[in-house]
Amino acid sequence: MALDRKIAYIDLTTGKVETKPIPLEVRKKFVGGRGLDAYLLYNHAPKGCDPLGPENPLIVSGGLLTATCASATSRTHIMAKSPLTNLLGSCNMGGFFSPEMAWAGFHHLVITGKADKPVYLWIHNGEIEIRDASHLWGKTCTETQWAIREDHGDEEIKSMVIGAAGENLVTYACVMTGIKNSGGRSGMGCVMGSKNLKAVACRGDMDIKLAHPVDALEHNKTFIEQITSAKVNQTQGTLGTPFIWGATNCWGGVRTRNFQYNQMLYADEIEPEAIDDIATETMGPHHMAGCFGCQVHCRAKYKIKTGPLAGKYDEGPEYTSLGAFGSEPDCKKAETVLSANHLVDQYGVDNLEIGSIISWAMELYELGILTDKETDGLELKFGNDAALIEMIHQICNRSSWLGNVLADGGIPASEAIGKNSFDYLIQVKGMNNLHSDERATPGLALNIATASRGSDHLRSRPAIDLYHLPEKVLRKIYSSPIPYDGPLSSEHTDYVGKPWQVFWQENCYMAVDSLGICKYHTLFLGATLPNFEDWPEVIYYNTGLEFTPEELWAAAERCNNLERLFNLREGLTRNDPYKGDTLNHRYFDEPCRRGAPDVVGRTIDREKFSIMIDEFYGHHGWDKEGVPTPETMARLGLDQEPSHLL
């Protein structure tokens, strides 16, 4: 049964391991995956704890449906207090790790303490051992995974690991599994490094008994048809996510030269079709790969064709890499994007954060805020591909003054660099933004400003806002499972109705993250993809657990509120430029300089933005400061938190 997977508490200081079942009442309230992780973090992290201290719990999980016969249940979620933001840390990755953890008997791990030497966890059919990892320390992400397989003589072991960036406590080091699947955001790899935890390795062949196997299988078939019939997923399955970068770039929604432009010109070499040509040339016509149980197969395989890394195999690049190593630093060579993508996969560092932070440093250099003295003579200009690559090395190895400073994250770096460097840092809550430029899309701007893990598109982005769907269609989507009769607008430049859409998407994404499903299998990029009305059947057939769409919505809302409570406890206030629901002033003050007619000249209106925040808080049942009211806490059953049920 999916419901008999356990939770394990592992103290790396004492070596003590304890396992427990997960009670059904906990499942009904917090589901699993990210939702239950939020509950565990709120209950286990002491207020104000040092993100790199032994008391910060690192929570690793699969979702409620992981490895069941629901589609694309590949996602692993990892949560802790973030060393980058000092608020909620949370990341999510595809691949094959969490299904293997489920077959090895576990859905959740709570890892505390600090080992006195490098270790890794070996999880095998209900057993957990802490093993010596001295021989793994210093190895790249791929080398580490392969070495663990060799240790055990088993090619099917799945591991989540850190590379040099995590070992060197780069605050935005990520967790890696497979060749390129990354738990990217908010520095969870740094937390692993702080615990001397090099890897978590899993192998298991314990049955996951399905409640209604025939129904689960047949339902999955119809689900897959629904998912693969969406045009957006067919495009993902051929061009991968770069198509999103290409489409938004030609429209004018892509940060370029940090935040100076909203469109990259002369990008021919890194357009999605050009990247696809390289994949075809180096890996053949069938070069798309899928995560566990997924028929979208959006991950391209490629080899680097030229340069010092020629011949190296990797996967992607995702659209995040096109932004981080293409448009933001304005580097136009495919070789640069593909090589940088390979380096971050091996160092184990978040591509979004490192690309964004280097692009910020490039702007500072061009403005004279950083000089040759700080860069050690490196000409850190936009479009200097070699400088971009060099800075990736310097940051991940902390091998220069500037690399060391930038490795601490944007806000600490802005304090070290001084002057008005902070004004140019495109961040929310201390986390740098994705390459997307939200000045023409107030709904998307509200999403990144209020996302619980800092600037982030995967928390609540109403991406379908860009499709100009008829209001009738929007109303059908957004007035279920709970009624909504307020305003909705098909116009992406509007401010009305957007707070509801962001609120709705926030609950939708919490639900998928708690079930352990990929966002390409829900209402994210495709308006016809499954959401609250569709999941109860899948949950029932696979686990036997009964939810109504409304109950699932309430659970998602409850878990989002737990994340909010955590952030409030750690110091979030509404208008704090470092820790608040705010945007960089350039969103309000600098008009878009390029793009389509509905983009060029646009800024976010301060007053209307503030009203959107008020409305967004209102939908949540939060007061004007963004704090859940006592009525909201009671309605969601959170008034007794922390309740220490697990």
Binding site: A67, T68, C69, F96, W103, T142, W146, E155, G178, I179, D205, M206, D207, I208, K209, L210, P213, A216, L217, N220, K221, I224, T228, T280, E281, T282, M283, G284, P285, H286, H287, M288, A289, G290, C291, F292, G293, C294, Q295, H297, K301, Y313, E315
Partner: protein, 165 residues
Amino acid sequence: MEKFLTVNAEKCTGCRLCEQVCSVVHEGVSNPAKSRIQIVKWEDEGRYIPMICQQCEDAPCKNVCPVGAISRDKDFGFLMVNQEVCIGCRSCVNICPFGAMNYNRTTHQVFKCDLCGGNPQCVRFCDVKAVDFVSADAVPARKKRESALRQSEAKGQPAGAQGHH
């Protein structure tokens, strides 16, 4: 017409849905260790190969079985294990050149692909058709055509310039 499971490995995306579907169909559980089809991977090369029972004409598993527990289905031609007769000696596991005879450590029995009785579910769920269920004579025709295309492309370009591995 006798159909067989054919593998088009270059199309495989490595998602392993077939393994899961197979274990659900046959055992009612999700557990790739109990799947009749397995994807073998070289992840650092992006190479994924579905491995399945070939239902050999001169089948080593059938030949080696000391108690005659393995026989051939008359309608669909697949080899099957009679669990009532099987003594669990695992000789067939050892001799199969494809590693397609598996062993269930819970029931201590061997198990193998039975083509789902003529409607293989791995094929039904494989969207990219990396595994397919076709009549035996259709395969050489397709392979001839692919090979002819490769040869004609090769003739049109300098040797070594061909990128398709």
